[in-house]
């Protein structure tokens, strides 16, 4: 399972880098979203996979009586998702401003030489 997920993570990273290198700014933002998904999955897998053991302790007890999965990577992923949420909102507005400023979604519109 870990191997399969590792391949999936690699695939997600390659998708995101492919999209980041495109000229369209919409694809650039999609690439950024894929990048955050890939890293979240990576965090999840590196924490160790446990099958069917939720990261919760039964109520009324302080210490888990059986093996539970490590809650820390899940908390980290949640934080990363929250941050991704803010960044995605910013990126959307950036695309919109870009489109209003240049009238296209082509990144090449931005290129400008130093000599004016």
């Amino acid at each position: 399972m870990t191997t399969l997920l590792a391949i999936l993570i690699g695939f997600l990273f390659s998708v995101s880098i492919y999209l980041l290198l495109r000229r369209s700014i919409v694809k650039l933002v999609l690439g950024l979203l894929f990048l955050s998904y890939a890293t979240s999955l990576l965090l999840f897998v590196t924490g160790g996979l446990t099958v069917g053991k939720p990261a919760f302790v039964e109520s009324q007890t302080q210490i888990a009586s059986k093996v539970v999965s490590d809650p820390l990577p899940q908390a980290l992923i949640l934080t990363a998702i929250v941050i991704g949420f803010g960044v995605a909102a910013f990126a959307m507005v950036l695309i919109y401003r870009f489109h209003r400023e240049t009238g296209t979604i082509d990144m090449d519109e931005l290129s400008e030489t130093n000599q004016k």
Binding site: L28, A38, T39, G48, L110, N114
Partner: protein, 493 residues
């Protein structure tokens, strides 16, 4: 509790300034008061560090390897004071230097947000928490760069956002790998475990990912290309703030991570760091020589001077690290002064283009003098702070036998002098070009001139009072060289 104040104060002022968003005049003074309070908190932390060497605290009272630790030693206290000090005067500079529209759209809220992230990143001792502070910092700086949304700002912002988010993704991946390998996120605990078992291959590759992530933030050699297009785009006060804080925090974190974790593999890392330092220095200064926009020249010099700090890190002796830190603080002060005086010139001439300036020495001898101080300091003429910083670094470099990088540092100094002389000749000595209209009615903002004068004076003082500062920086270097100080302070209090 004192350790949390540099984080709580700006965050509190974020809330307060959002509440006061209608009243611009009140907002800007409140924001300046907030930074002043941070400066007091930073000074208090520094005095406590001087009394006991290190101080630390556990957020939420959870014990050390499990909870989030906050930690200050000489290094973080010094950088903390420098950041708050520079931020205070940039605030006051920006009162007169940034247009009202930008101020209305939350410039000061963003300044405070940026400071929250920076202070958090300087004080935390938990790698994931560090990531969170970095993101706080980045999101504020994204908006600061694109605030106003001119075409050049959008161009800068797109590059900046993409590169930095990519860096953050690498940072999180590296955190995941470290957690998977060692099962801890506390920096002292990681350092202890690496001390015991050494750097194995996955950990060393995580270190490489960390290095790339912070290298992007600090703008070192292969990853600096976002900086020259995004830093000159926003108004000059914002540029000064970003250059004084963001890139320097990147360097600070590089120093911290290398001195805690990666130095075990010095035979692998040292040549890489030397090479990167040399190429960063040389390429930054060469690009600066070809530019004719003051902000571009100064931005390229940021890159070149990051190289010096990285060189001190690579030497990794007490003198090298002390030199790197001294150079970092010197650069914050001098570079900010240089950007501020460039901003004053822009208020006079309405442009940053050197070809459209001239005769400043006649028109405003005082501003010419204000530019002279950071120019000499950046070039490293004694007895300015730049000279002592470079002297420490070059002395450490020759003692360590790092010939190539040290000699290139010496050569780069001459080129830096060349760039500064170019600005001096074009903007200050040369008679005003015929076709440029004279703006006699355009005046410089008094508050801005005052803020630049204070920065110039403190930059001078930082060089003159070297005997006092020397002792502090050497102690910082001694603490950095041995990571047991860090581990003992947090794990065995």
């Amino acid at each position: 509790m004192i350790l949390f104040l540099p984080i709580i104060i700006p965050l509190f002022f974020v809330a307060l300034l959002i509440m006061m968003r209608k009243n611009l005049r009140l907002q800007k003074w409140l924001s300046a008061i907030g930074v002043l309070l941070q400066l007091f908190a930073a000074v208090t932390i520094f005095t406590e560090v001087r009394a006991s060497g290190t101080i630390f605290s556990q957020a939420g009272n959870w014990p050390a390897p499990f909870g989030i630790s906050f930690f200050a030693d000489y290094t973080s206290a010094i950088v903390l004071i420098a950041v708050s000090f520079v931020a205070l005067w940039i605030h006051i500079f920006s009162f007169g230097a940034i247009d009202r529209t930008r101020q209305k759209f939350g410039l000061f809220v963003l300044f405070q947000g940026l400071l929250t992230g920076i202070n958090g990143a300087l004080l935390t001792a938990d790698i994931f928490n560090l990531y969170v502070w970095f993101e706080v910092m980045l999101i504020s700086s994204f908006v600061l760069i694109s605030l106003g949304a001119t075409k050049s700002q959008l161009r800068g912002a797109v590059k900046y956002v993409v590169m930095n988010l990519f860096g953050s993704a690498l940072f999180v991946s590296a955190i995941g790998i470290v957690y998977g390998q060692l099962g801890t996120l506390n920096m002292a605990d990681i350092a202890l475990k690496i001390n015991q078992q050494g750097l194995n291959l996955p950990l060393n590759s995580a270190m490489m990912l960390f290095f790339i992530a912070f290298g992007i933030k600090a703008a070192v050699f292969p990853f600096y290309f976002w900086l020259p297009s995004s830093y000159p785009a926003p108004p000059v006060a914002v540029t000064a703030f970003l250059s004084a804080t963001l890139t320097k925090v990147g360097v600070y974190v590089l120093i911290r991570f290398y001195s805690l974790f990666a130095f075990h593999q010095a035979e692998f890392w040292q040549p890489i760091i030397y090479g990167i330092a040399a190429i960063t220095m040389v390429s930054g200064v060469i690009m600066a020589a070809s530019a004719y926009d003051i902000r571009k020249i100064l931005s390229f010099h940021i890159i070149s001077q990051i190289g010096y700090m990285i060189m001190g890190l690579g030497i990794f002796s007490v003198f090298g690290l002390a030199g790197a830190l001294y150079f970092l603080v010197h650069n914050m002060l001098s570079k900010t002064t240089a950007f501020m005086s460039a901003g004053l010139m822009q208020q006079k001439y309405g442009t940053f283009d050197l070809k459209k300036m001239g005769n400043l020495y006649r028109l405003h001898p005082y501003v010419a003098f204000l530019f002279l101080i950071p120019a000499l300091s950046l070039a490293g003429i004694p007895p300015t702070s730049g000279f002592f910083g470079k002297f420490l670094l070059i002395y450490a470099g020759f003692s360590a036998g790092a010939w190539i990088v040290t000699i290139s540092a010496l050569v780069v100094s001459i080129f830096t002098l060349f760039s500064m002389v170019k600005i001096w000749n074009e903007a200050i000595w040369k008679p005003l070009p015929e076709d440029v209209p004279v703006h006699d009615e355009k005046r410089m903002n008094r508050t801005s001139v005052f803020a630049s004068s204070v920065m110039a004076f403190s930059s001078l003082l930082f060089g003159f009072a070297i005997t006092w500062f020397f002792d502090v920086f050497i102690r910082a270097g001694e603490q950095l060289v041995n990571n047991q100080h860090y581990i003992n302070a947090i794990l065995n209090p």
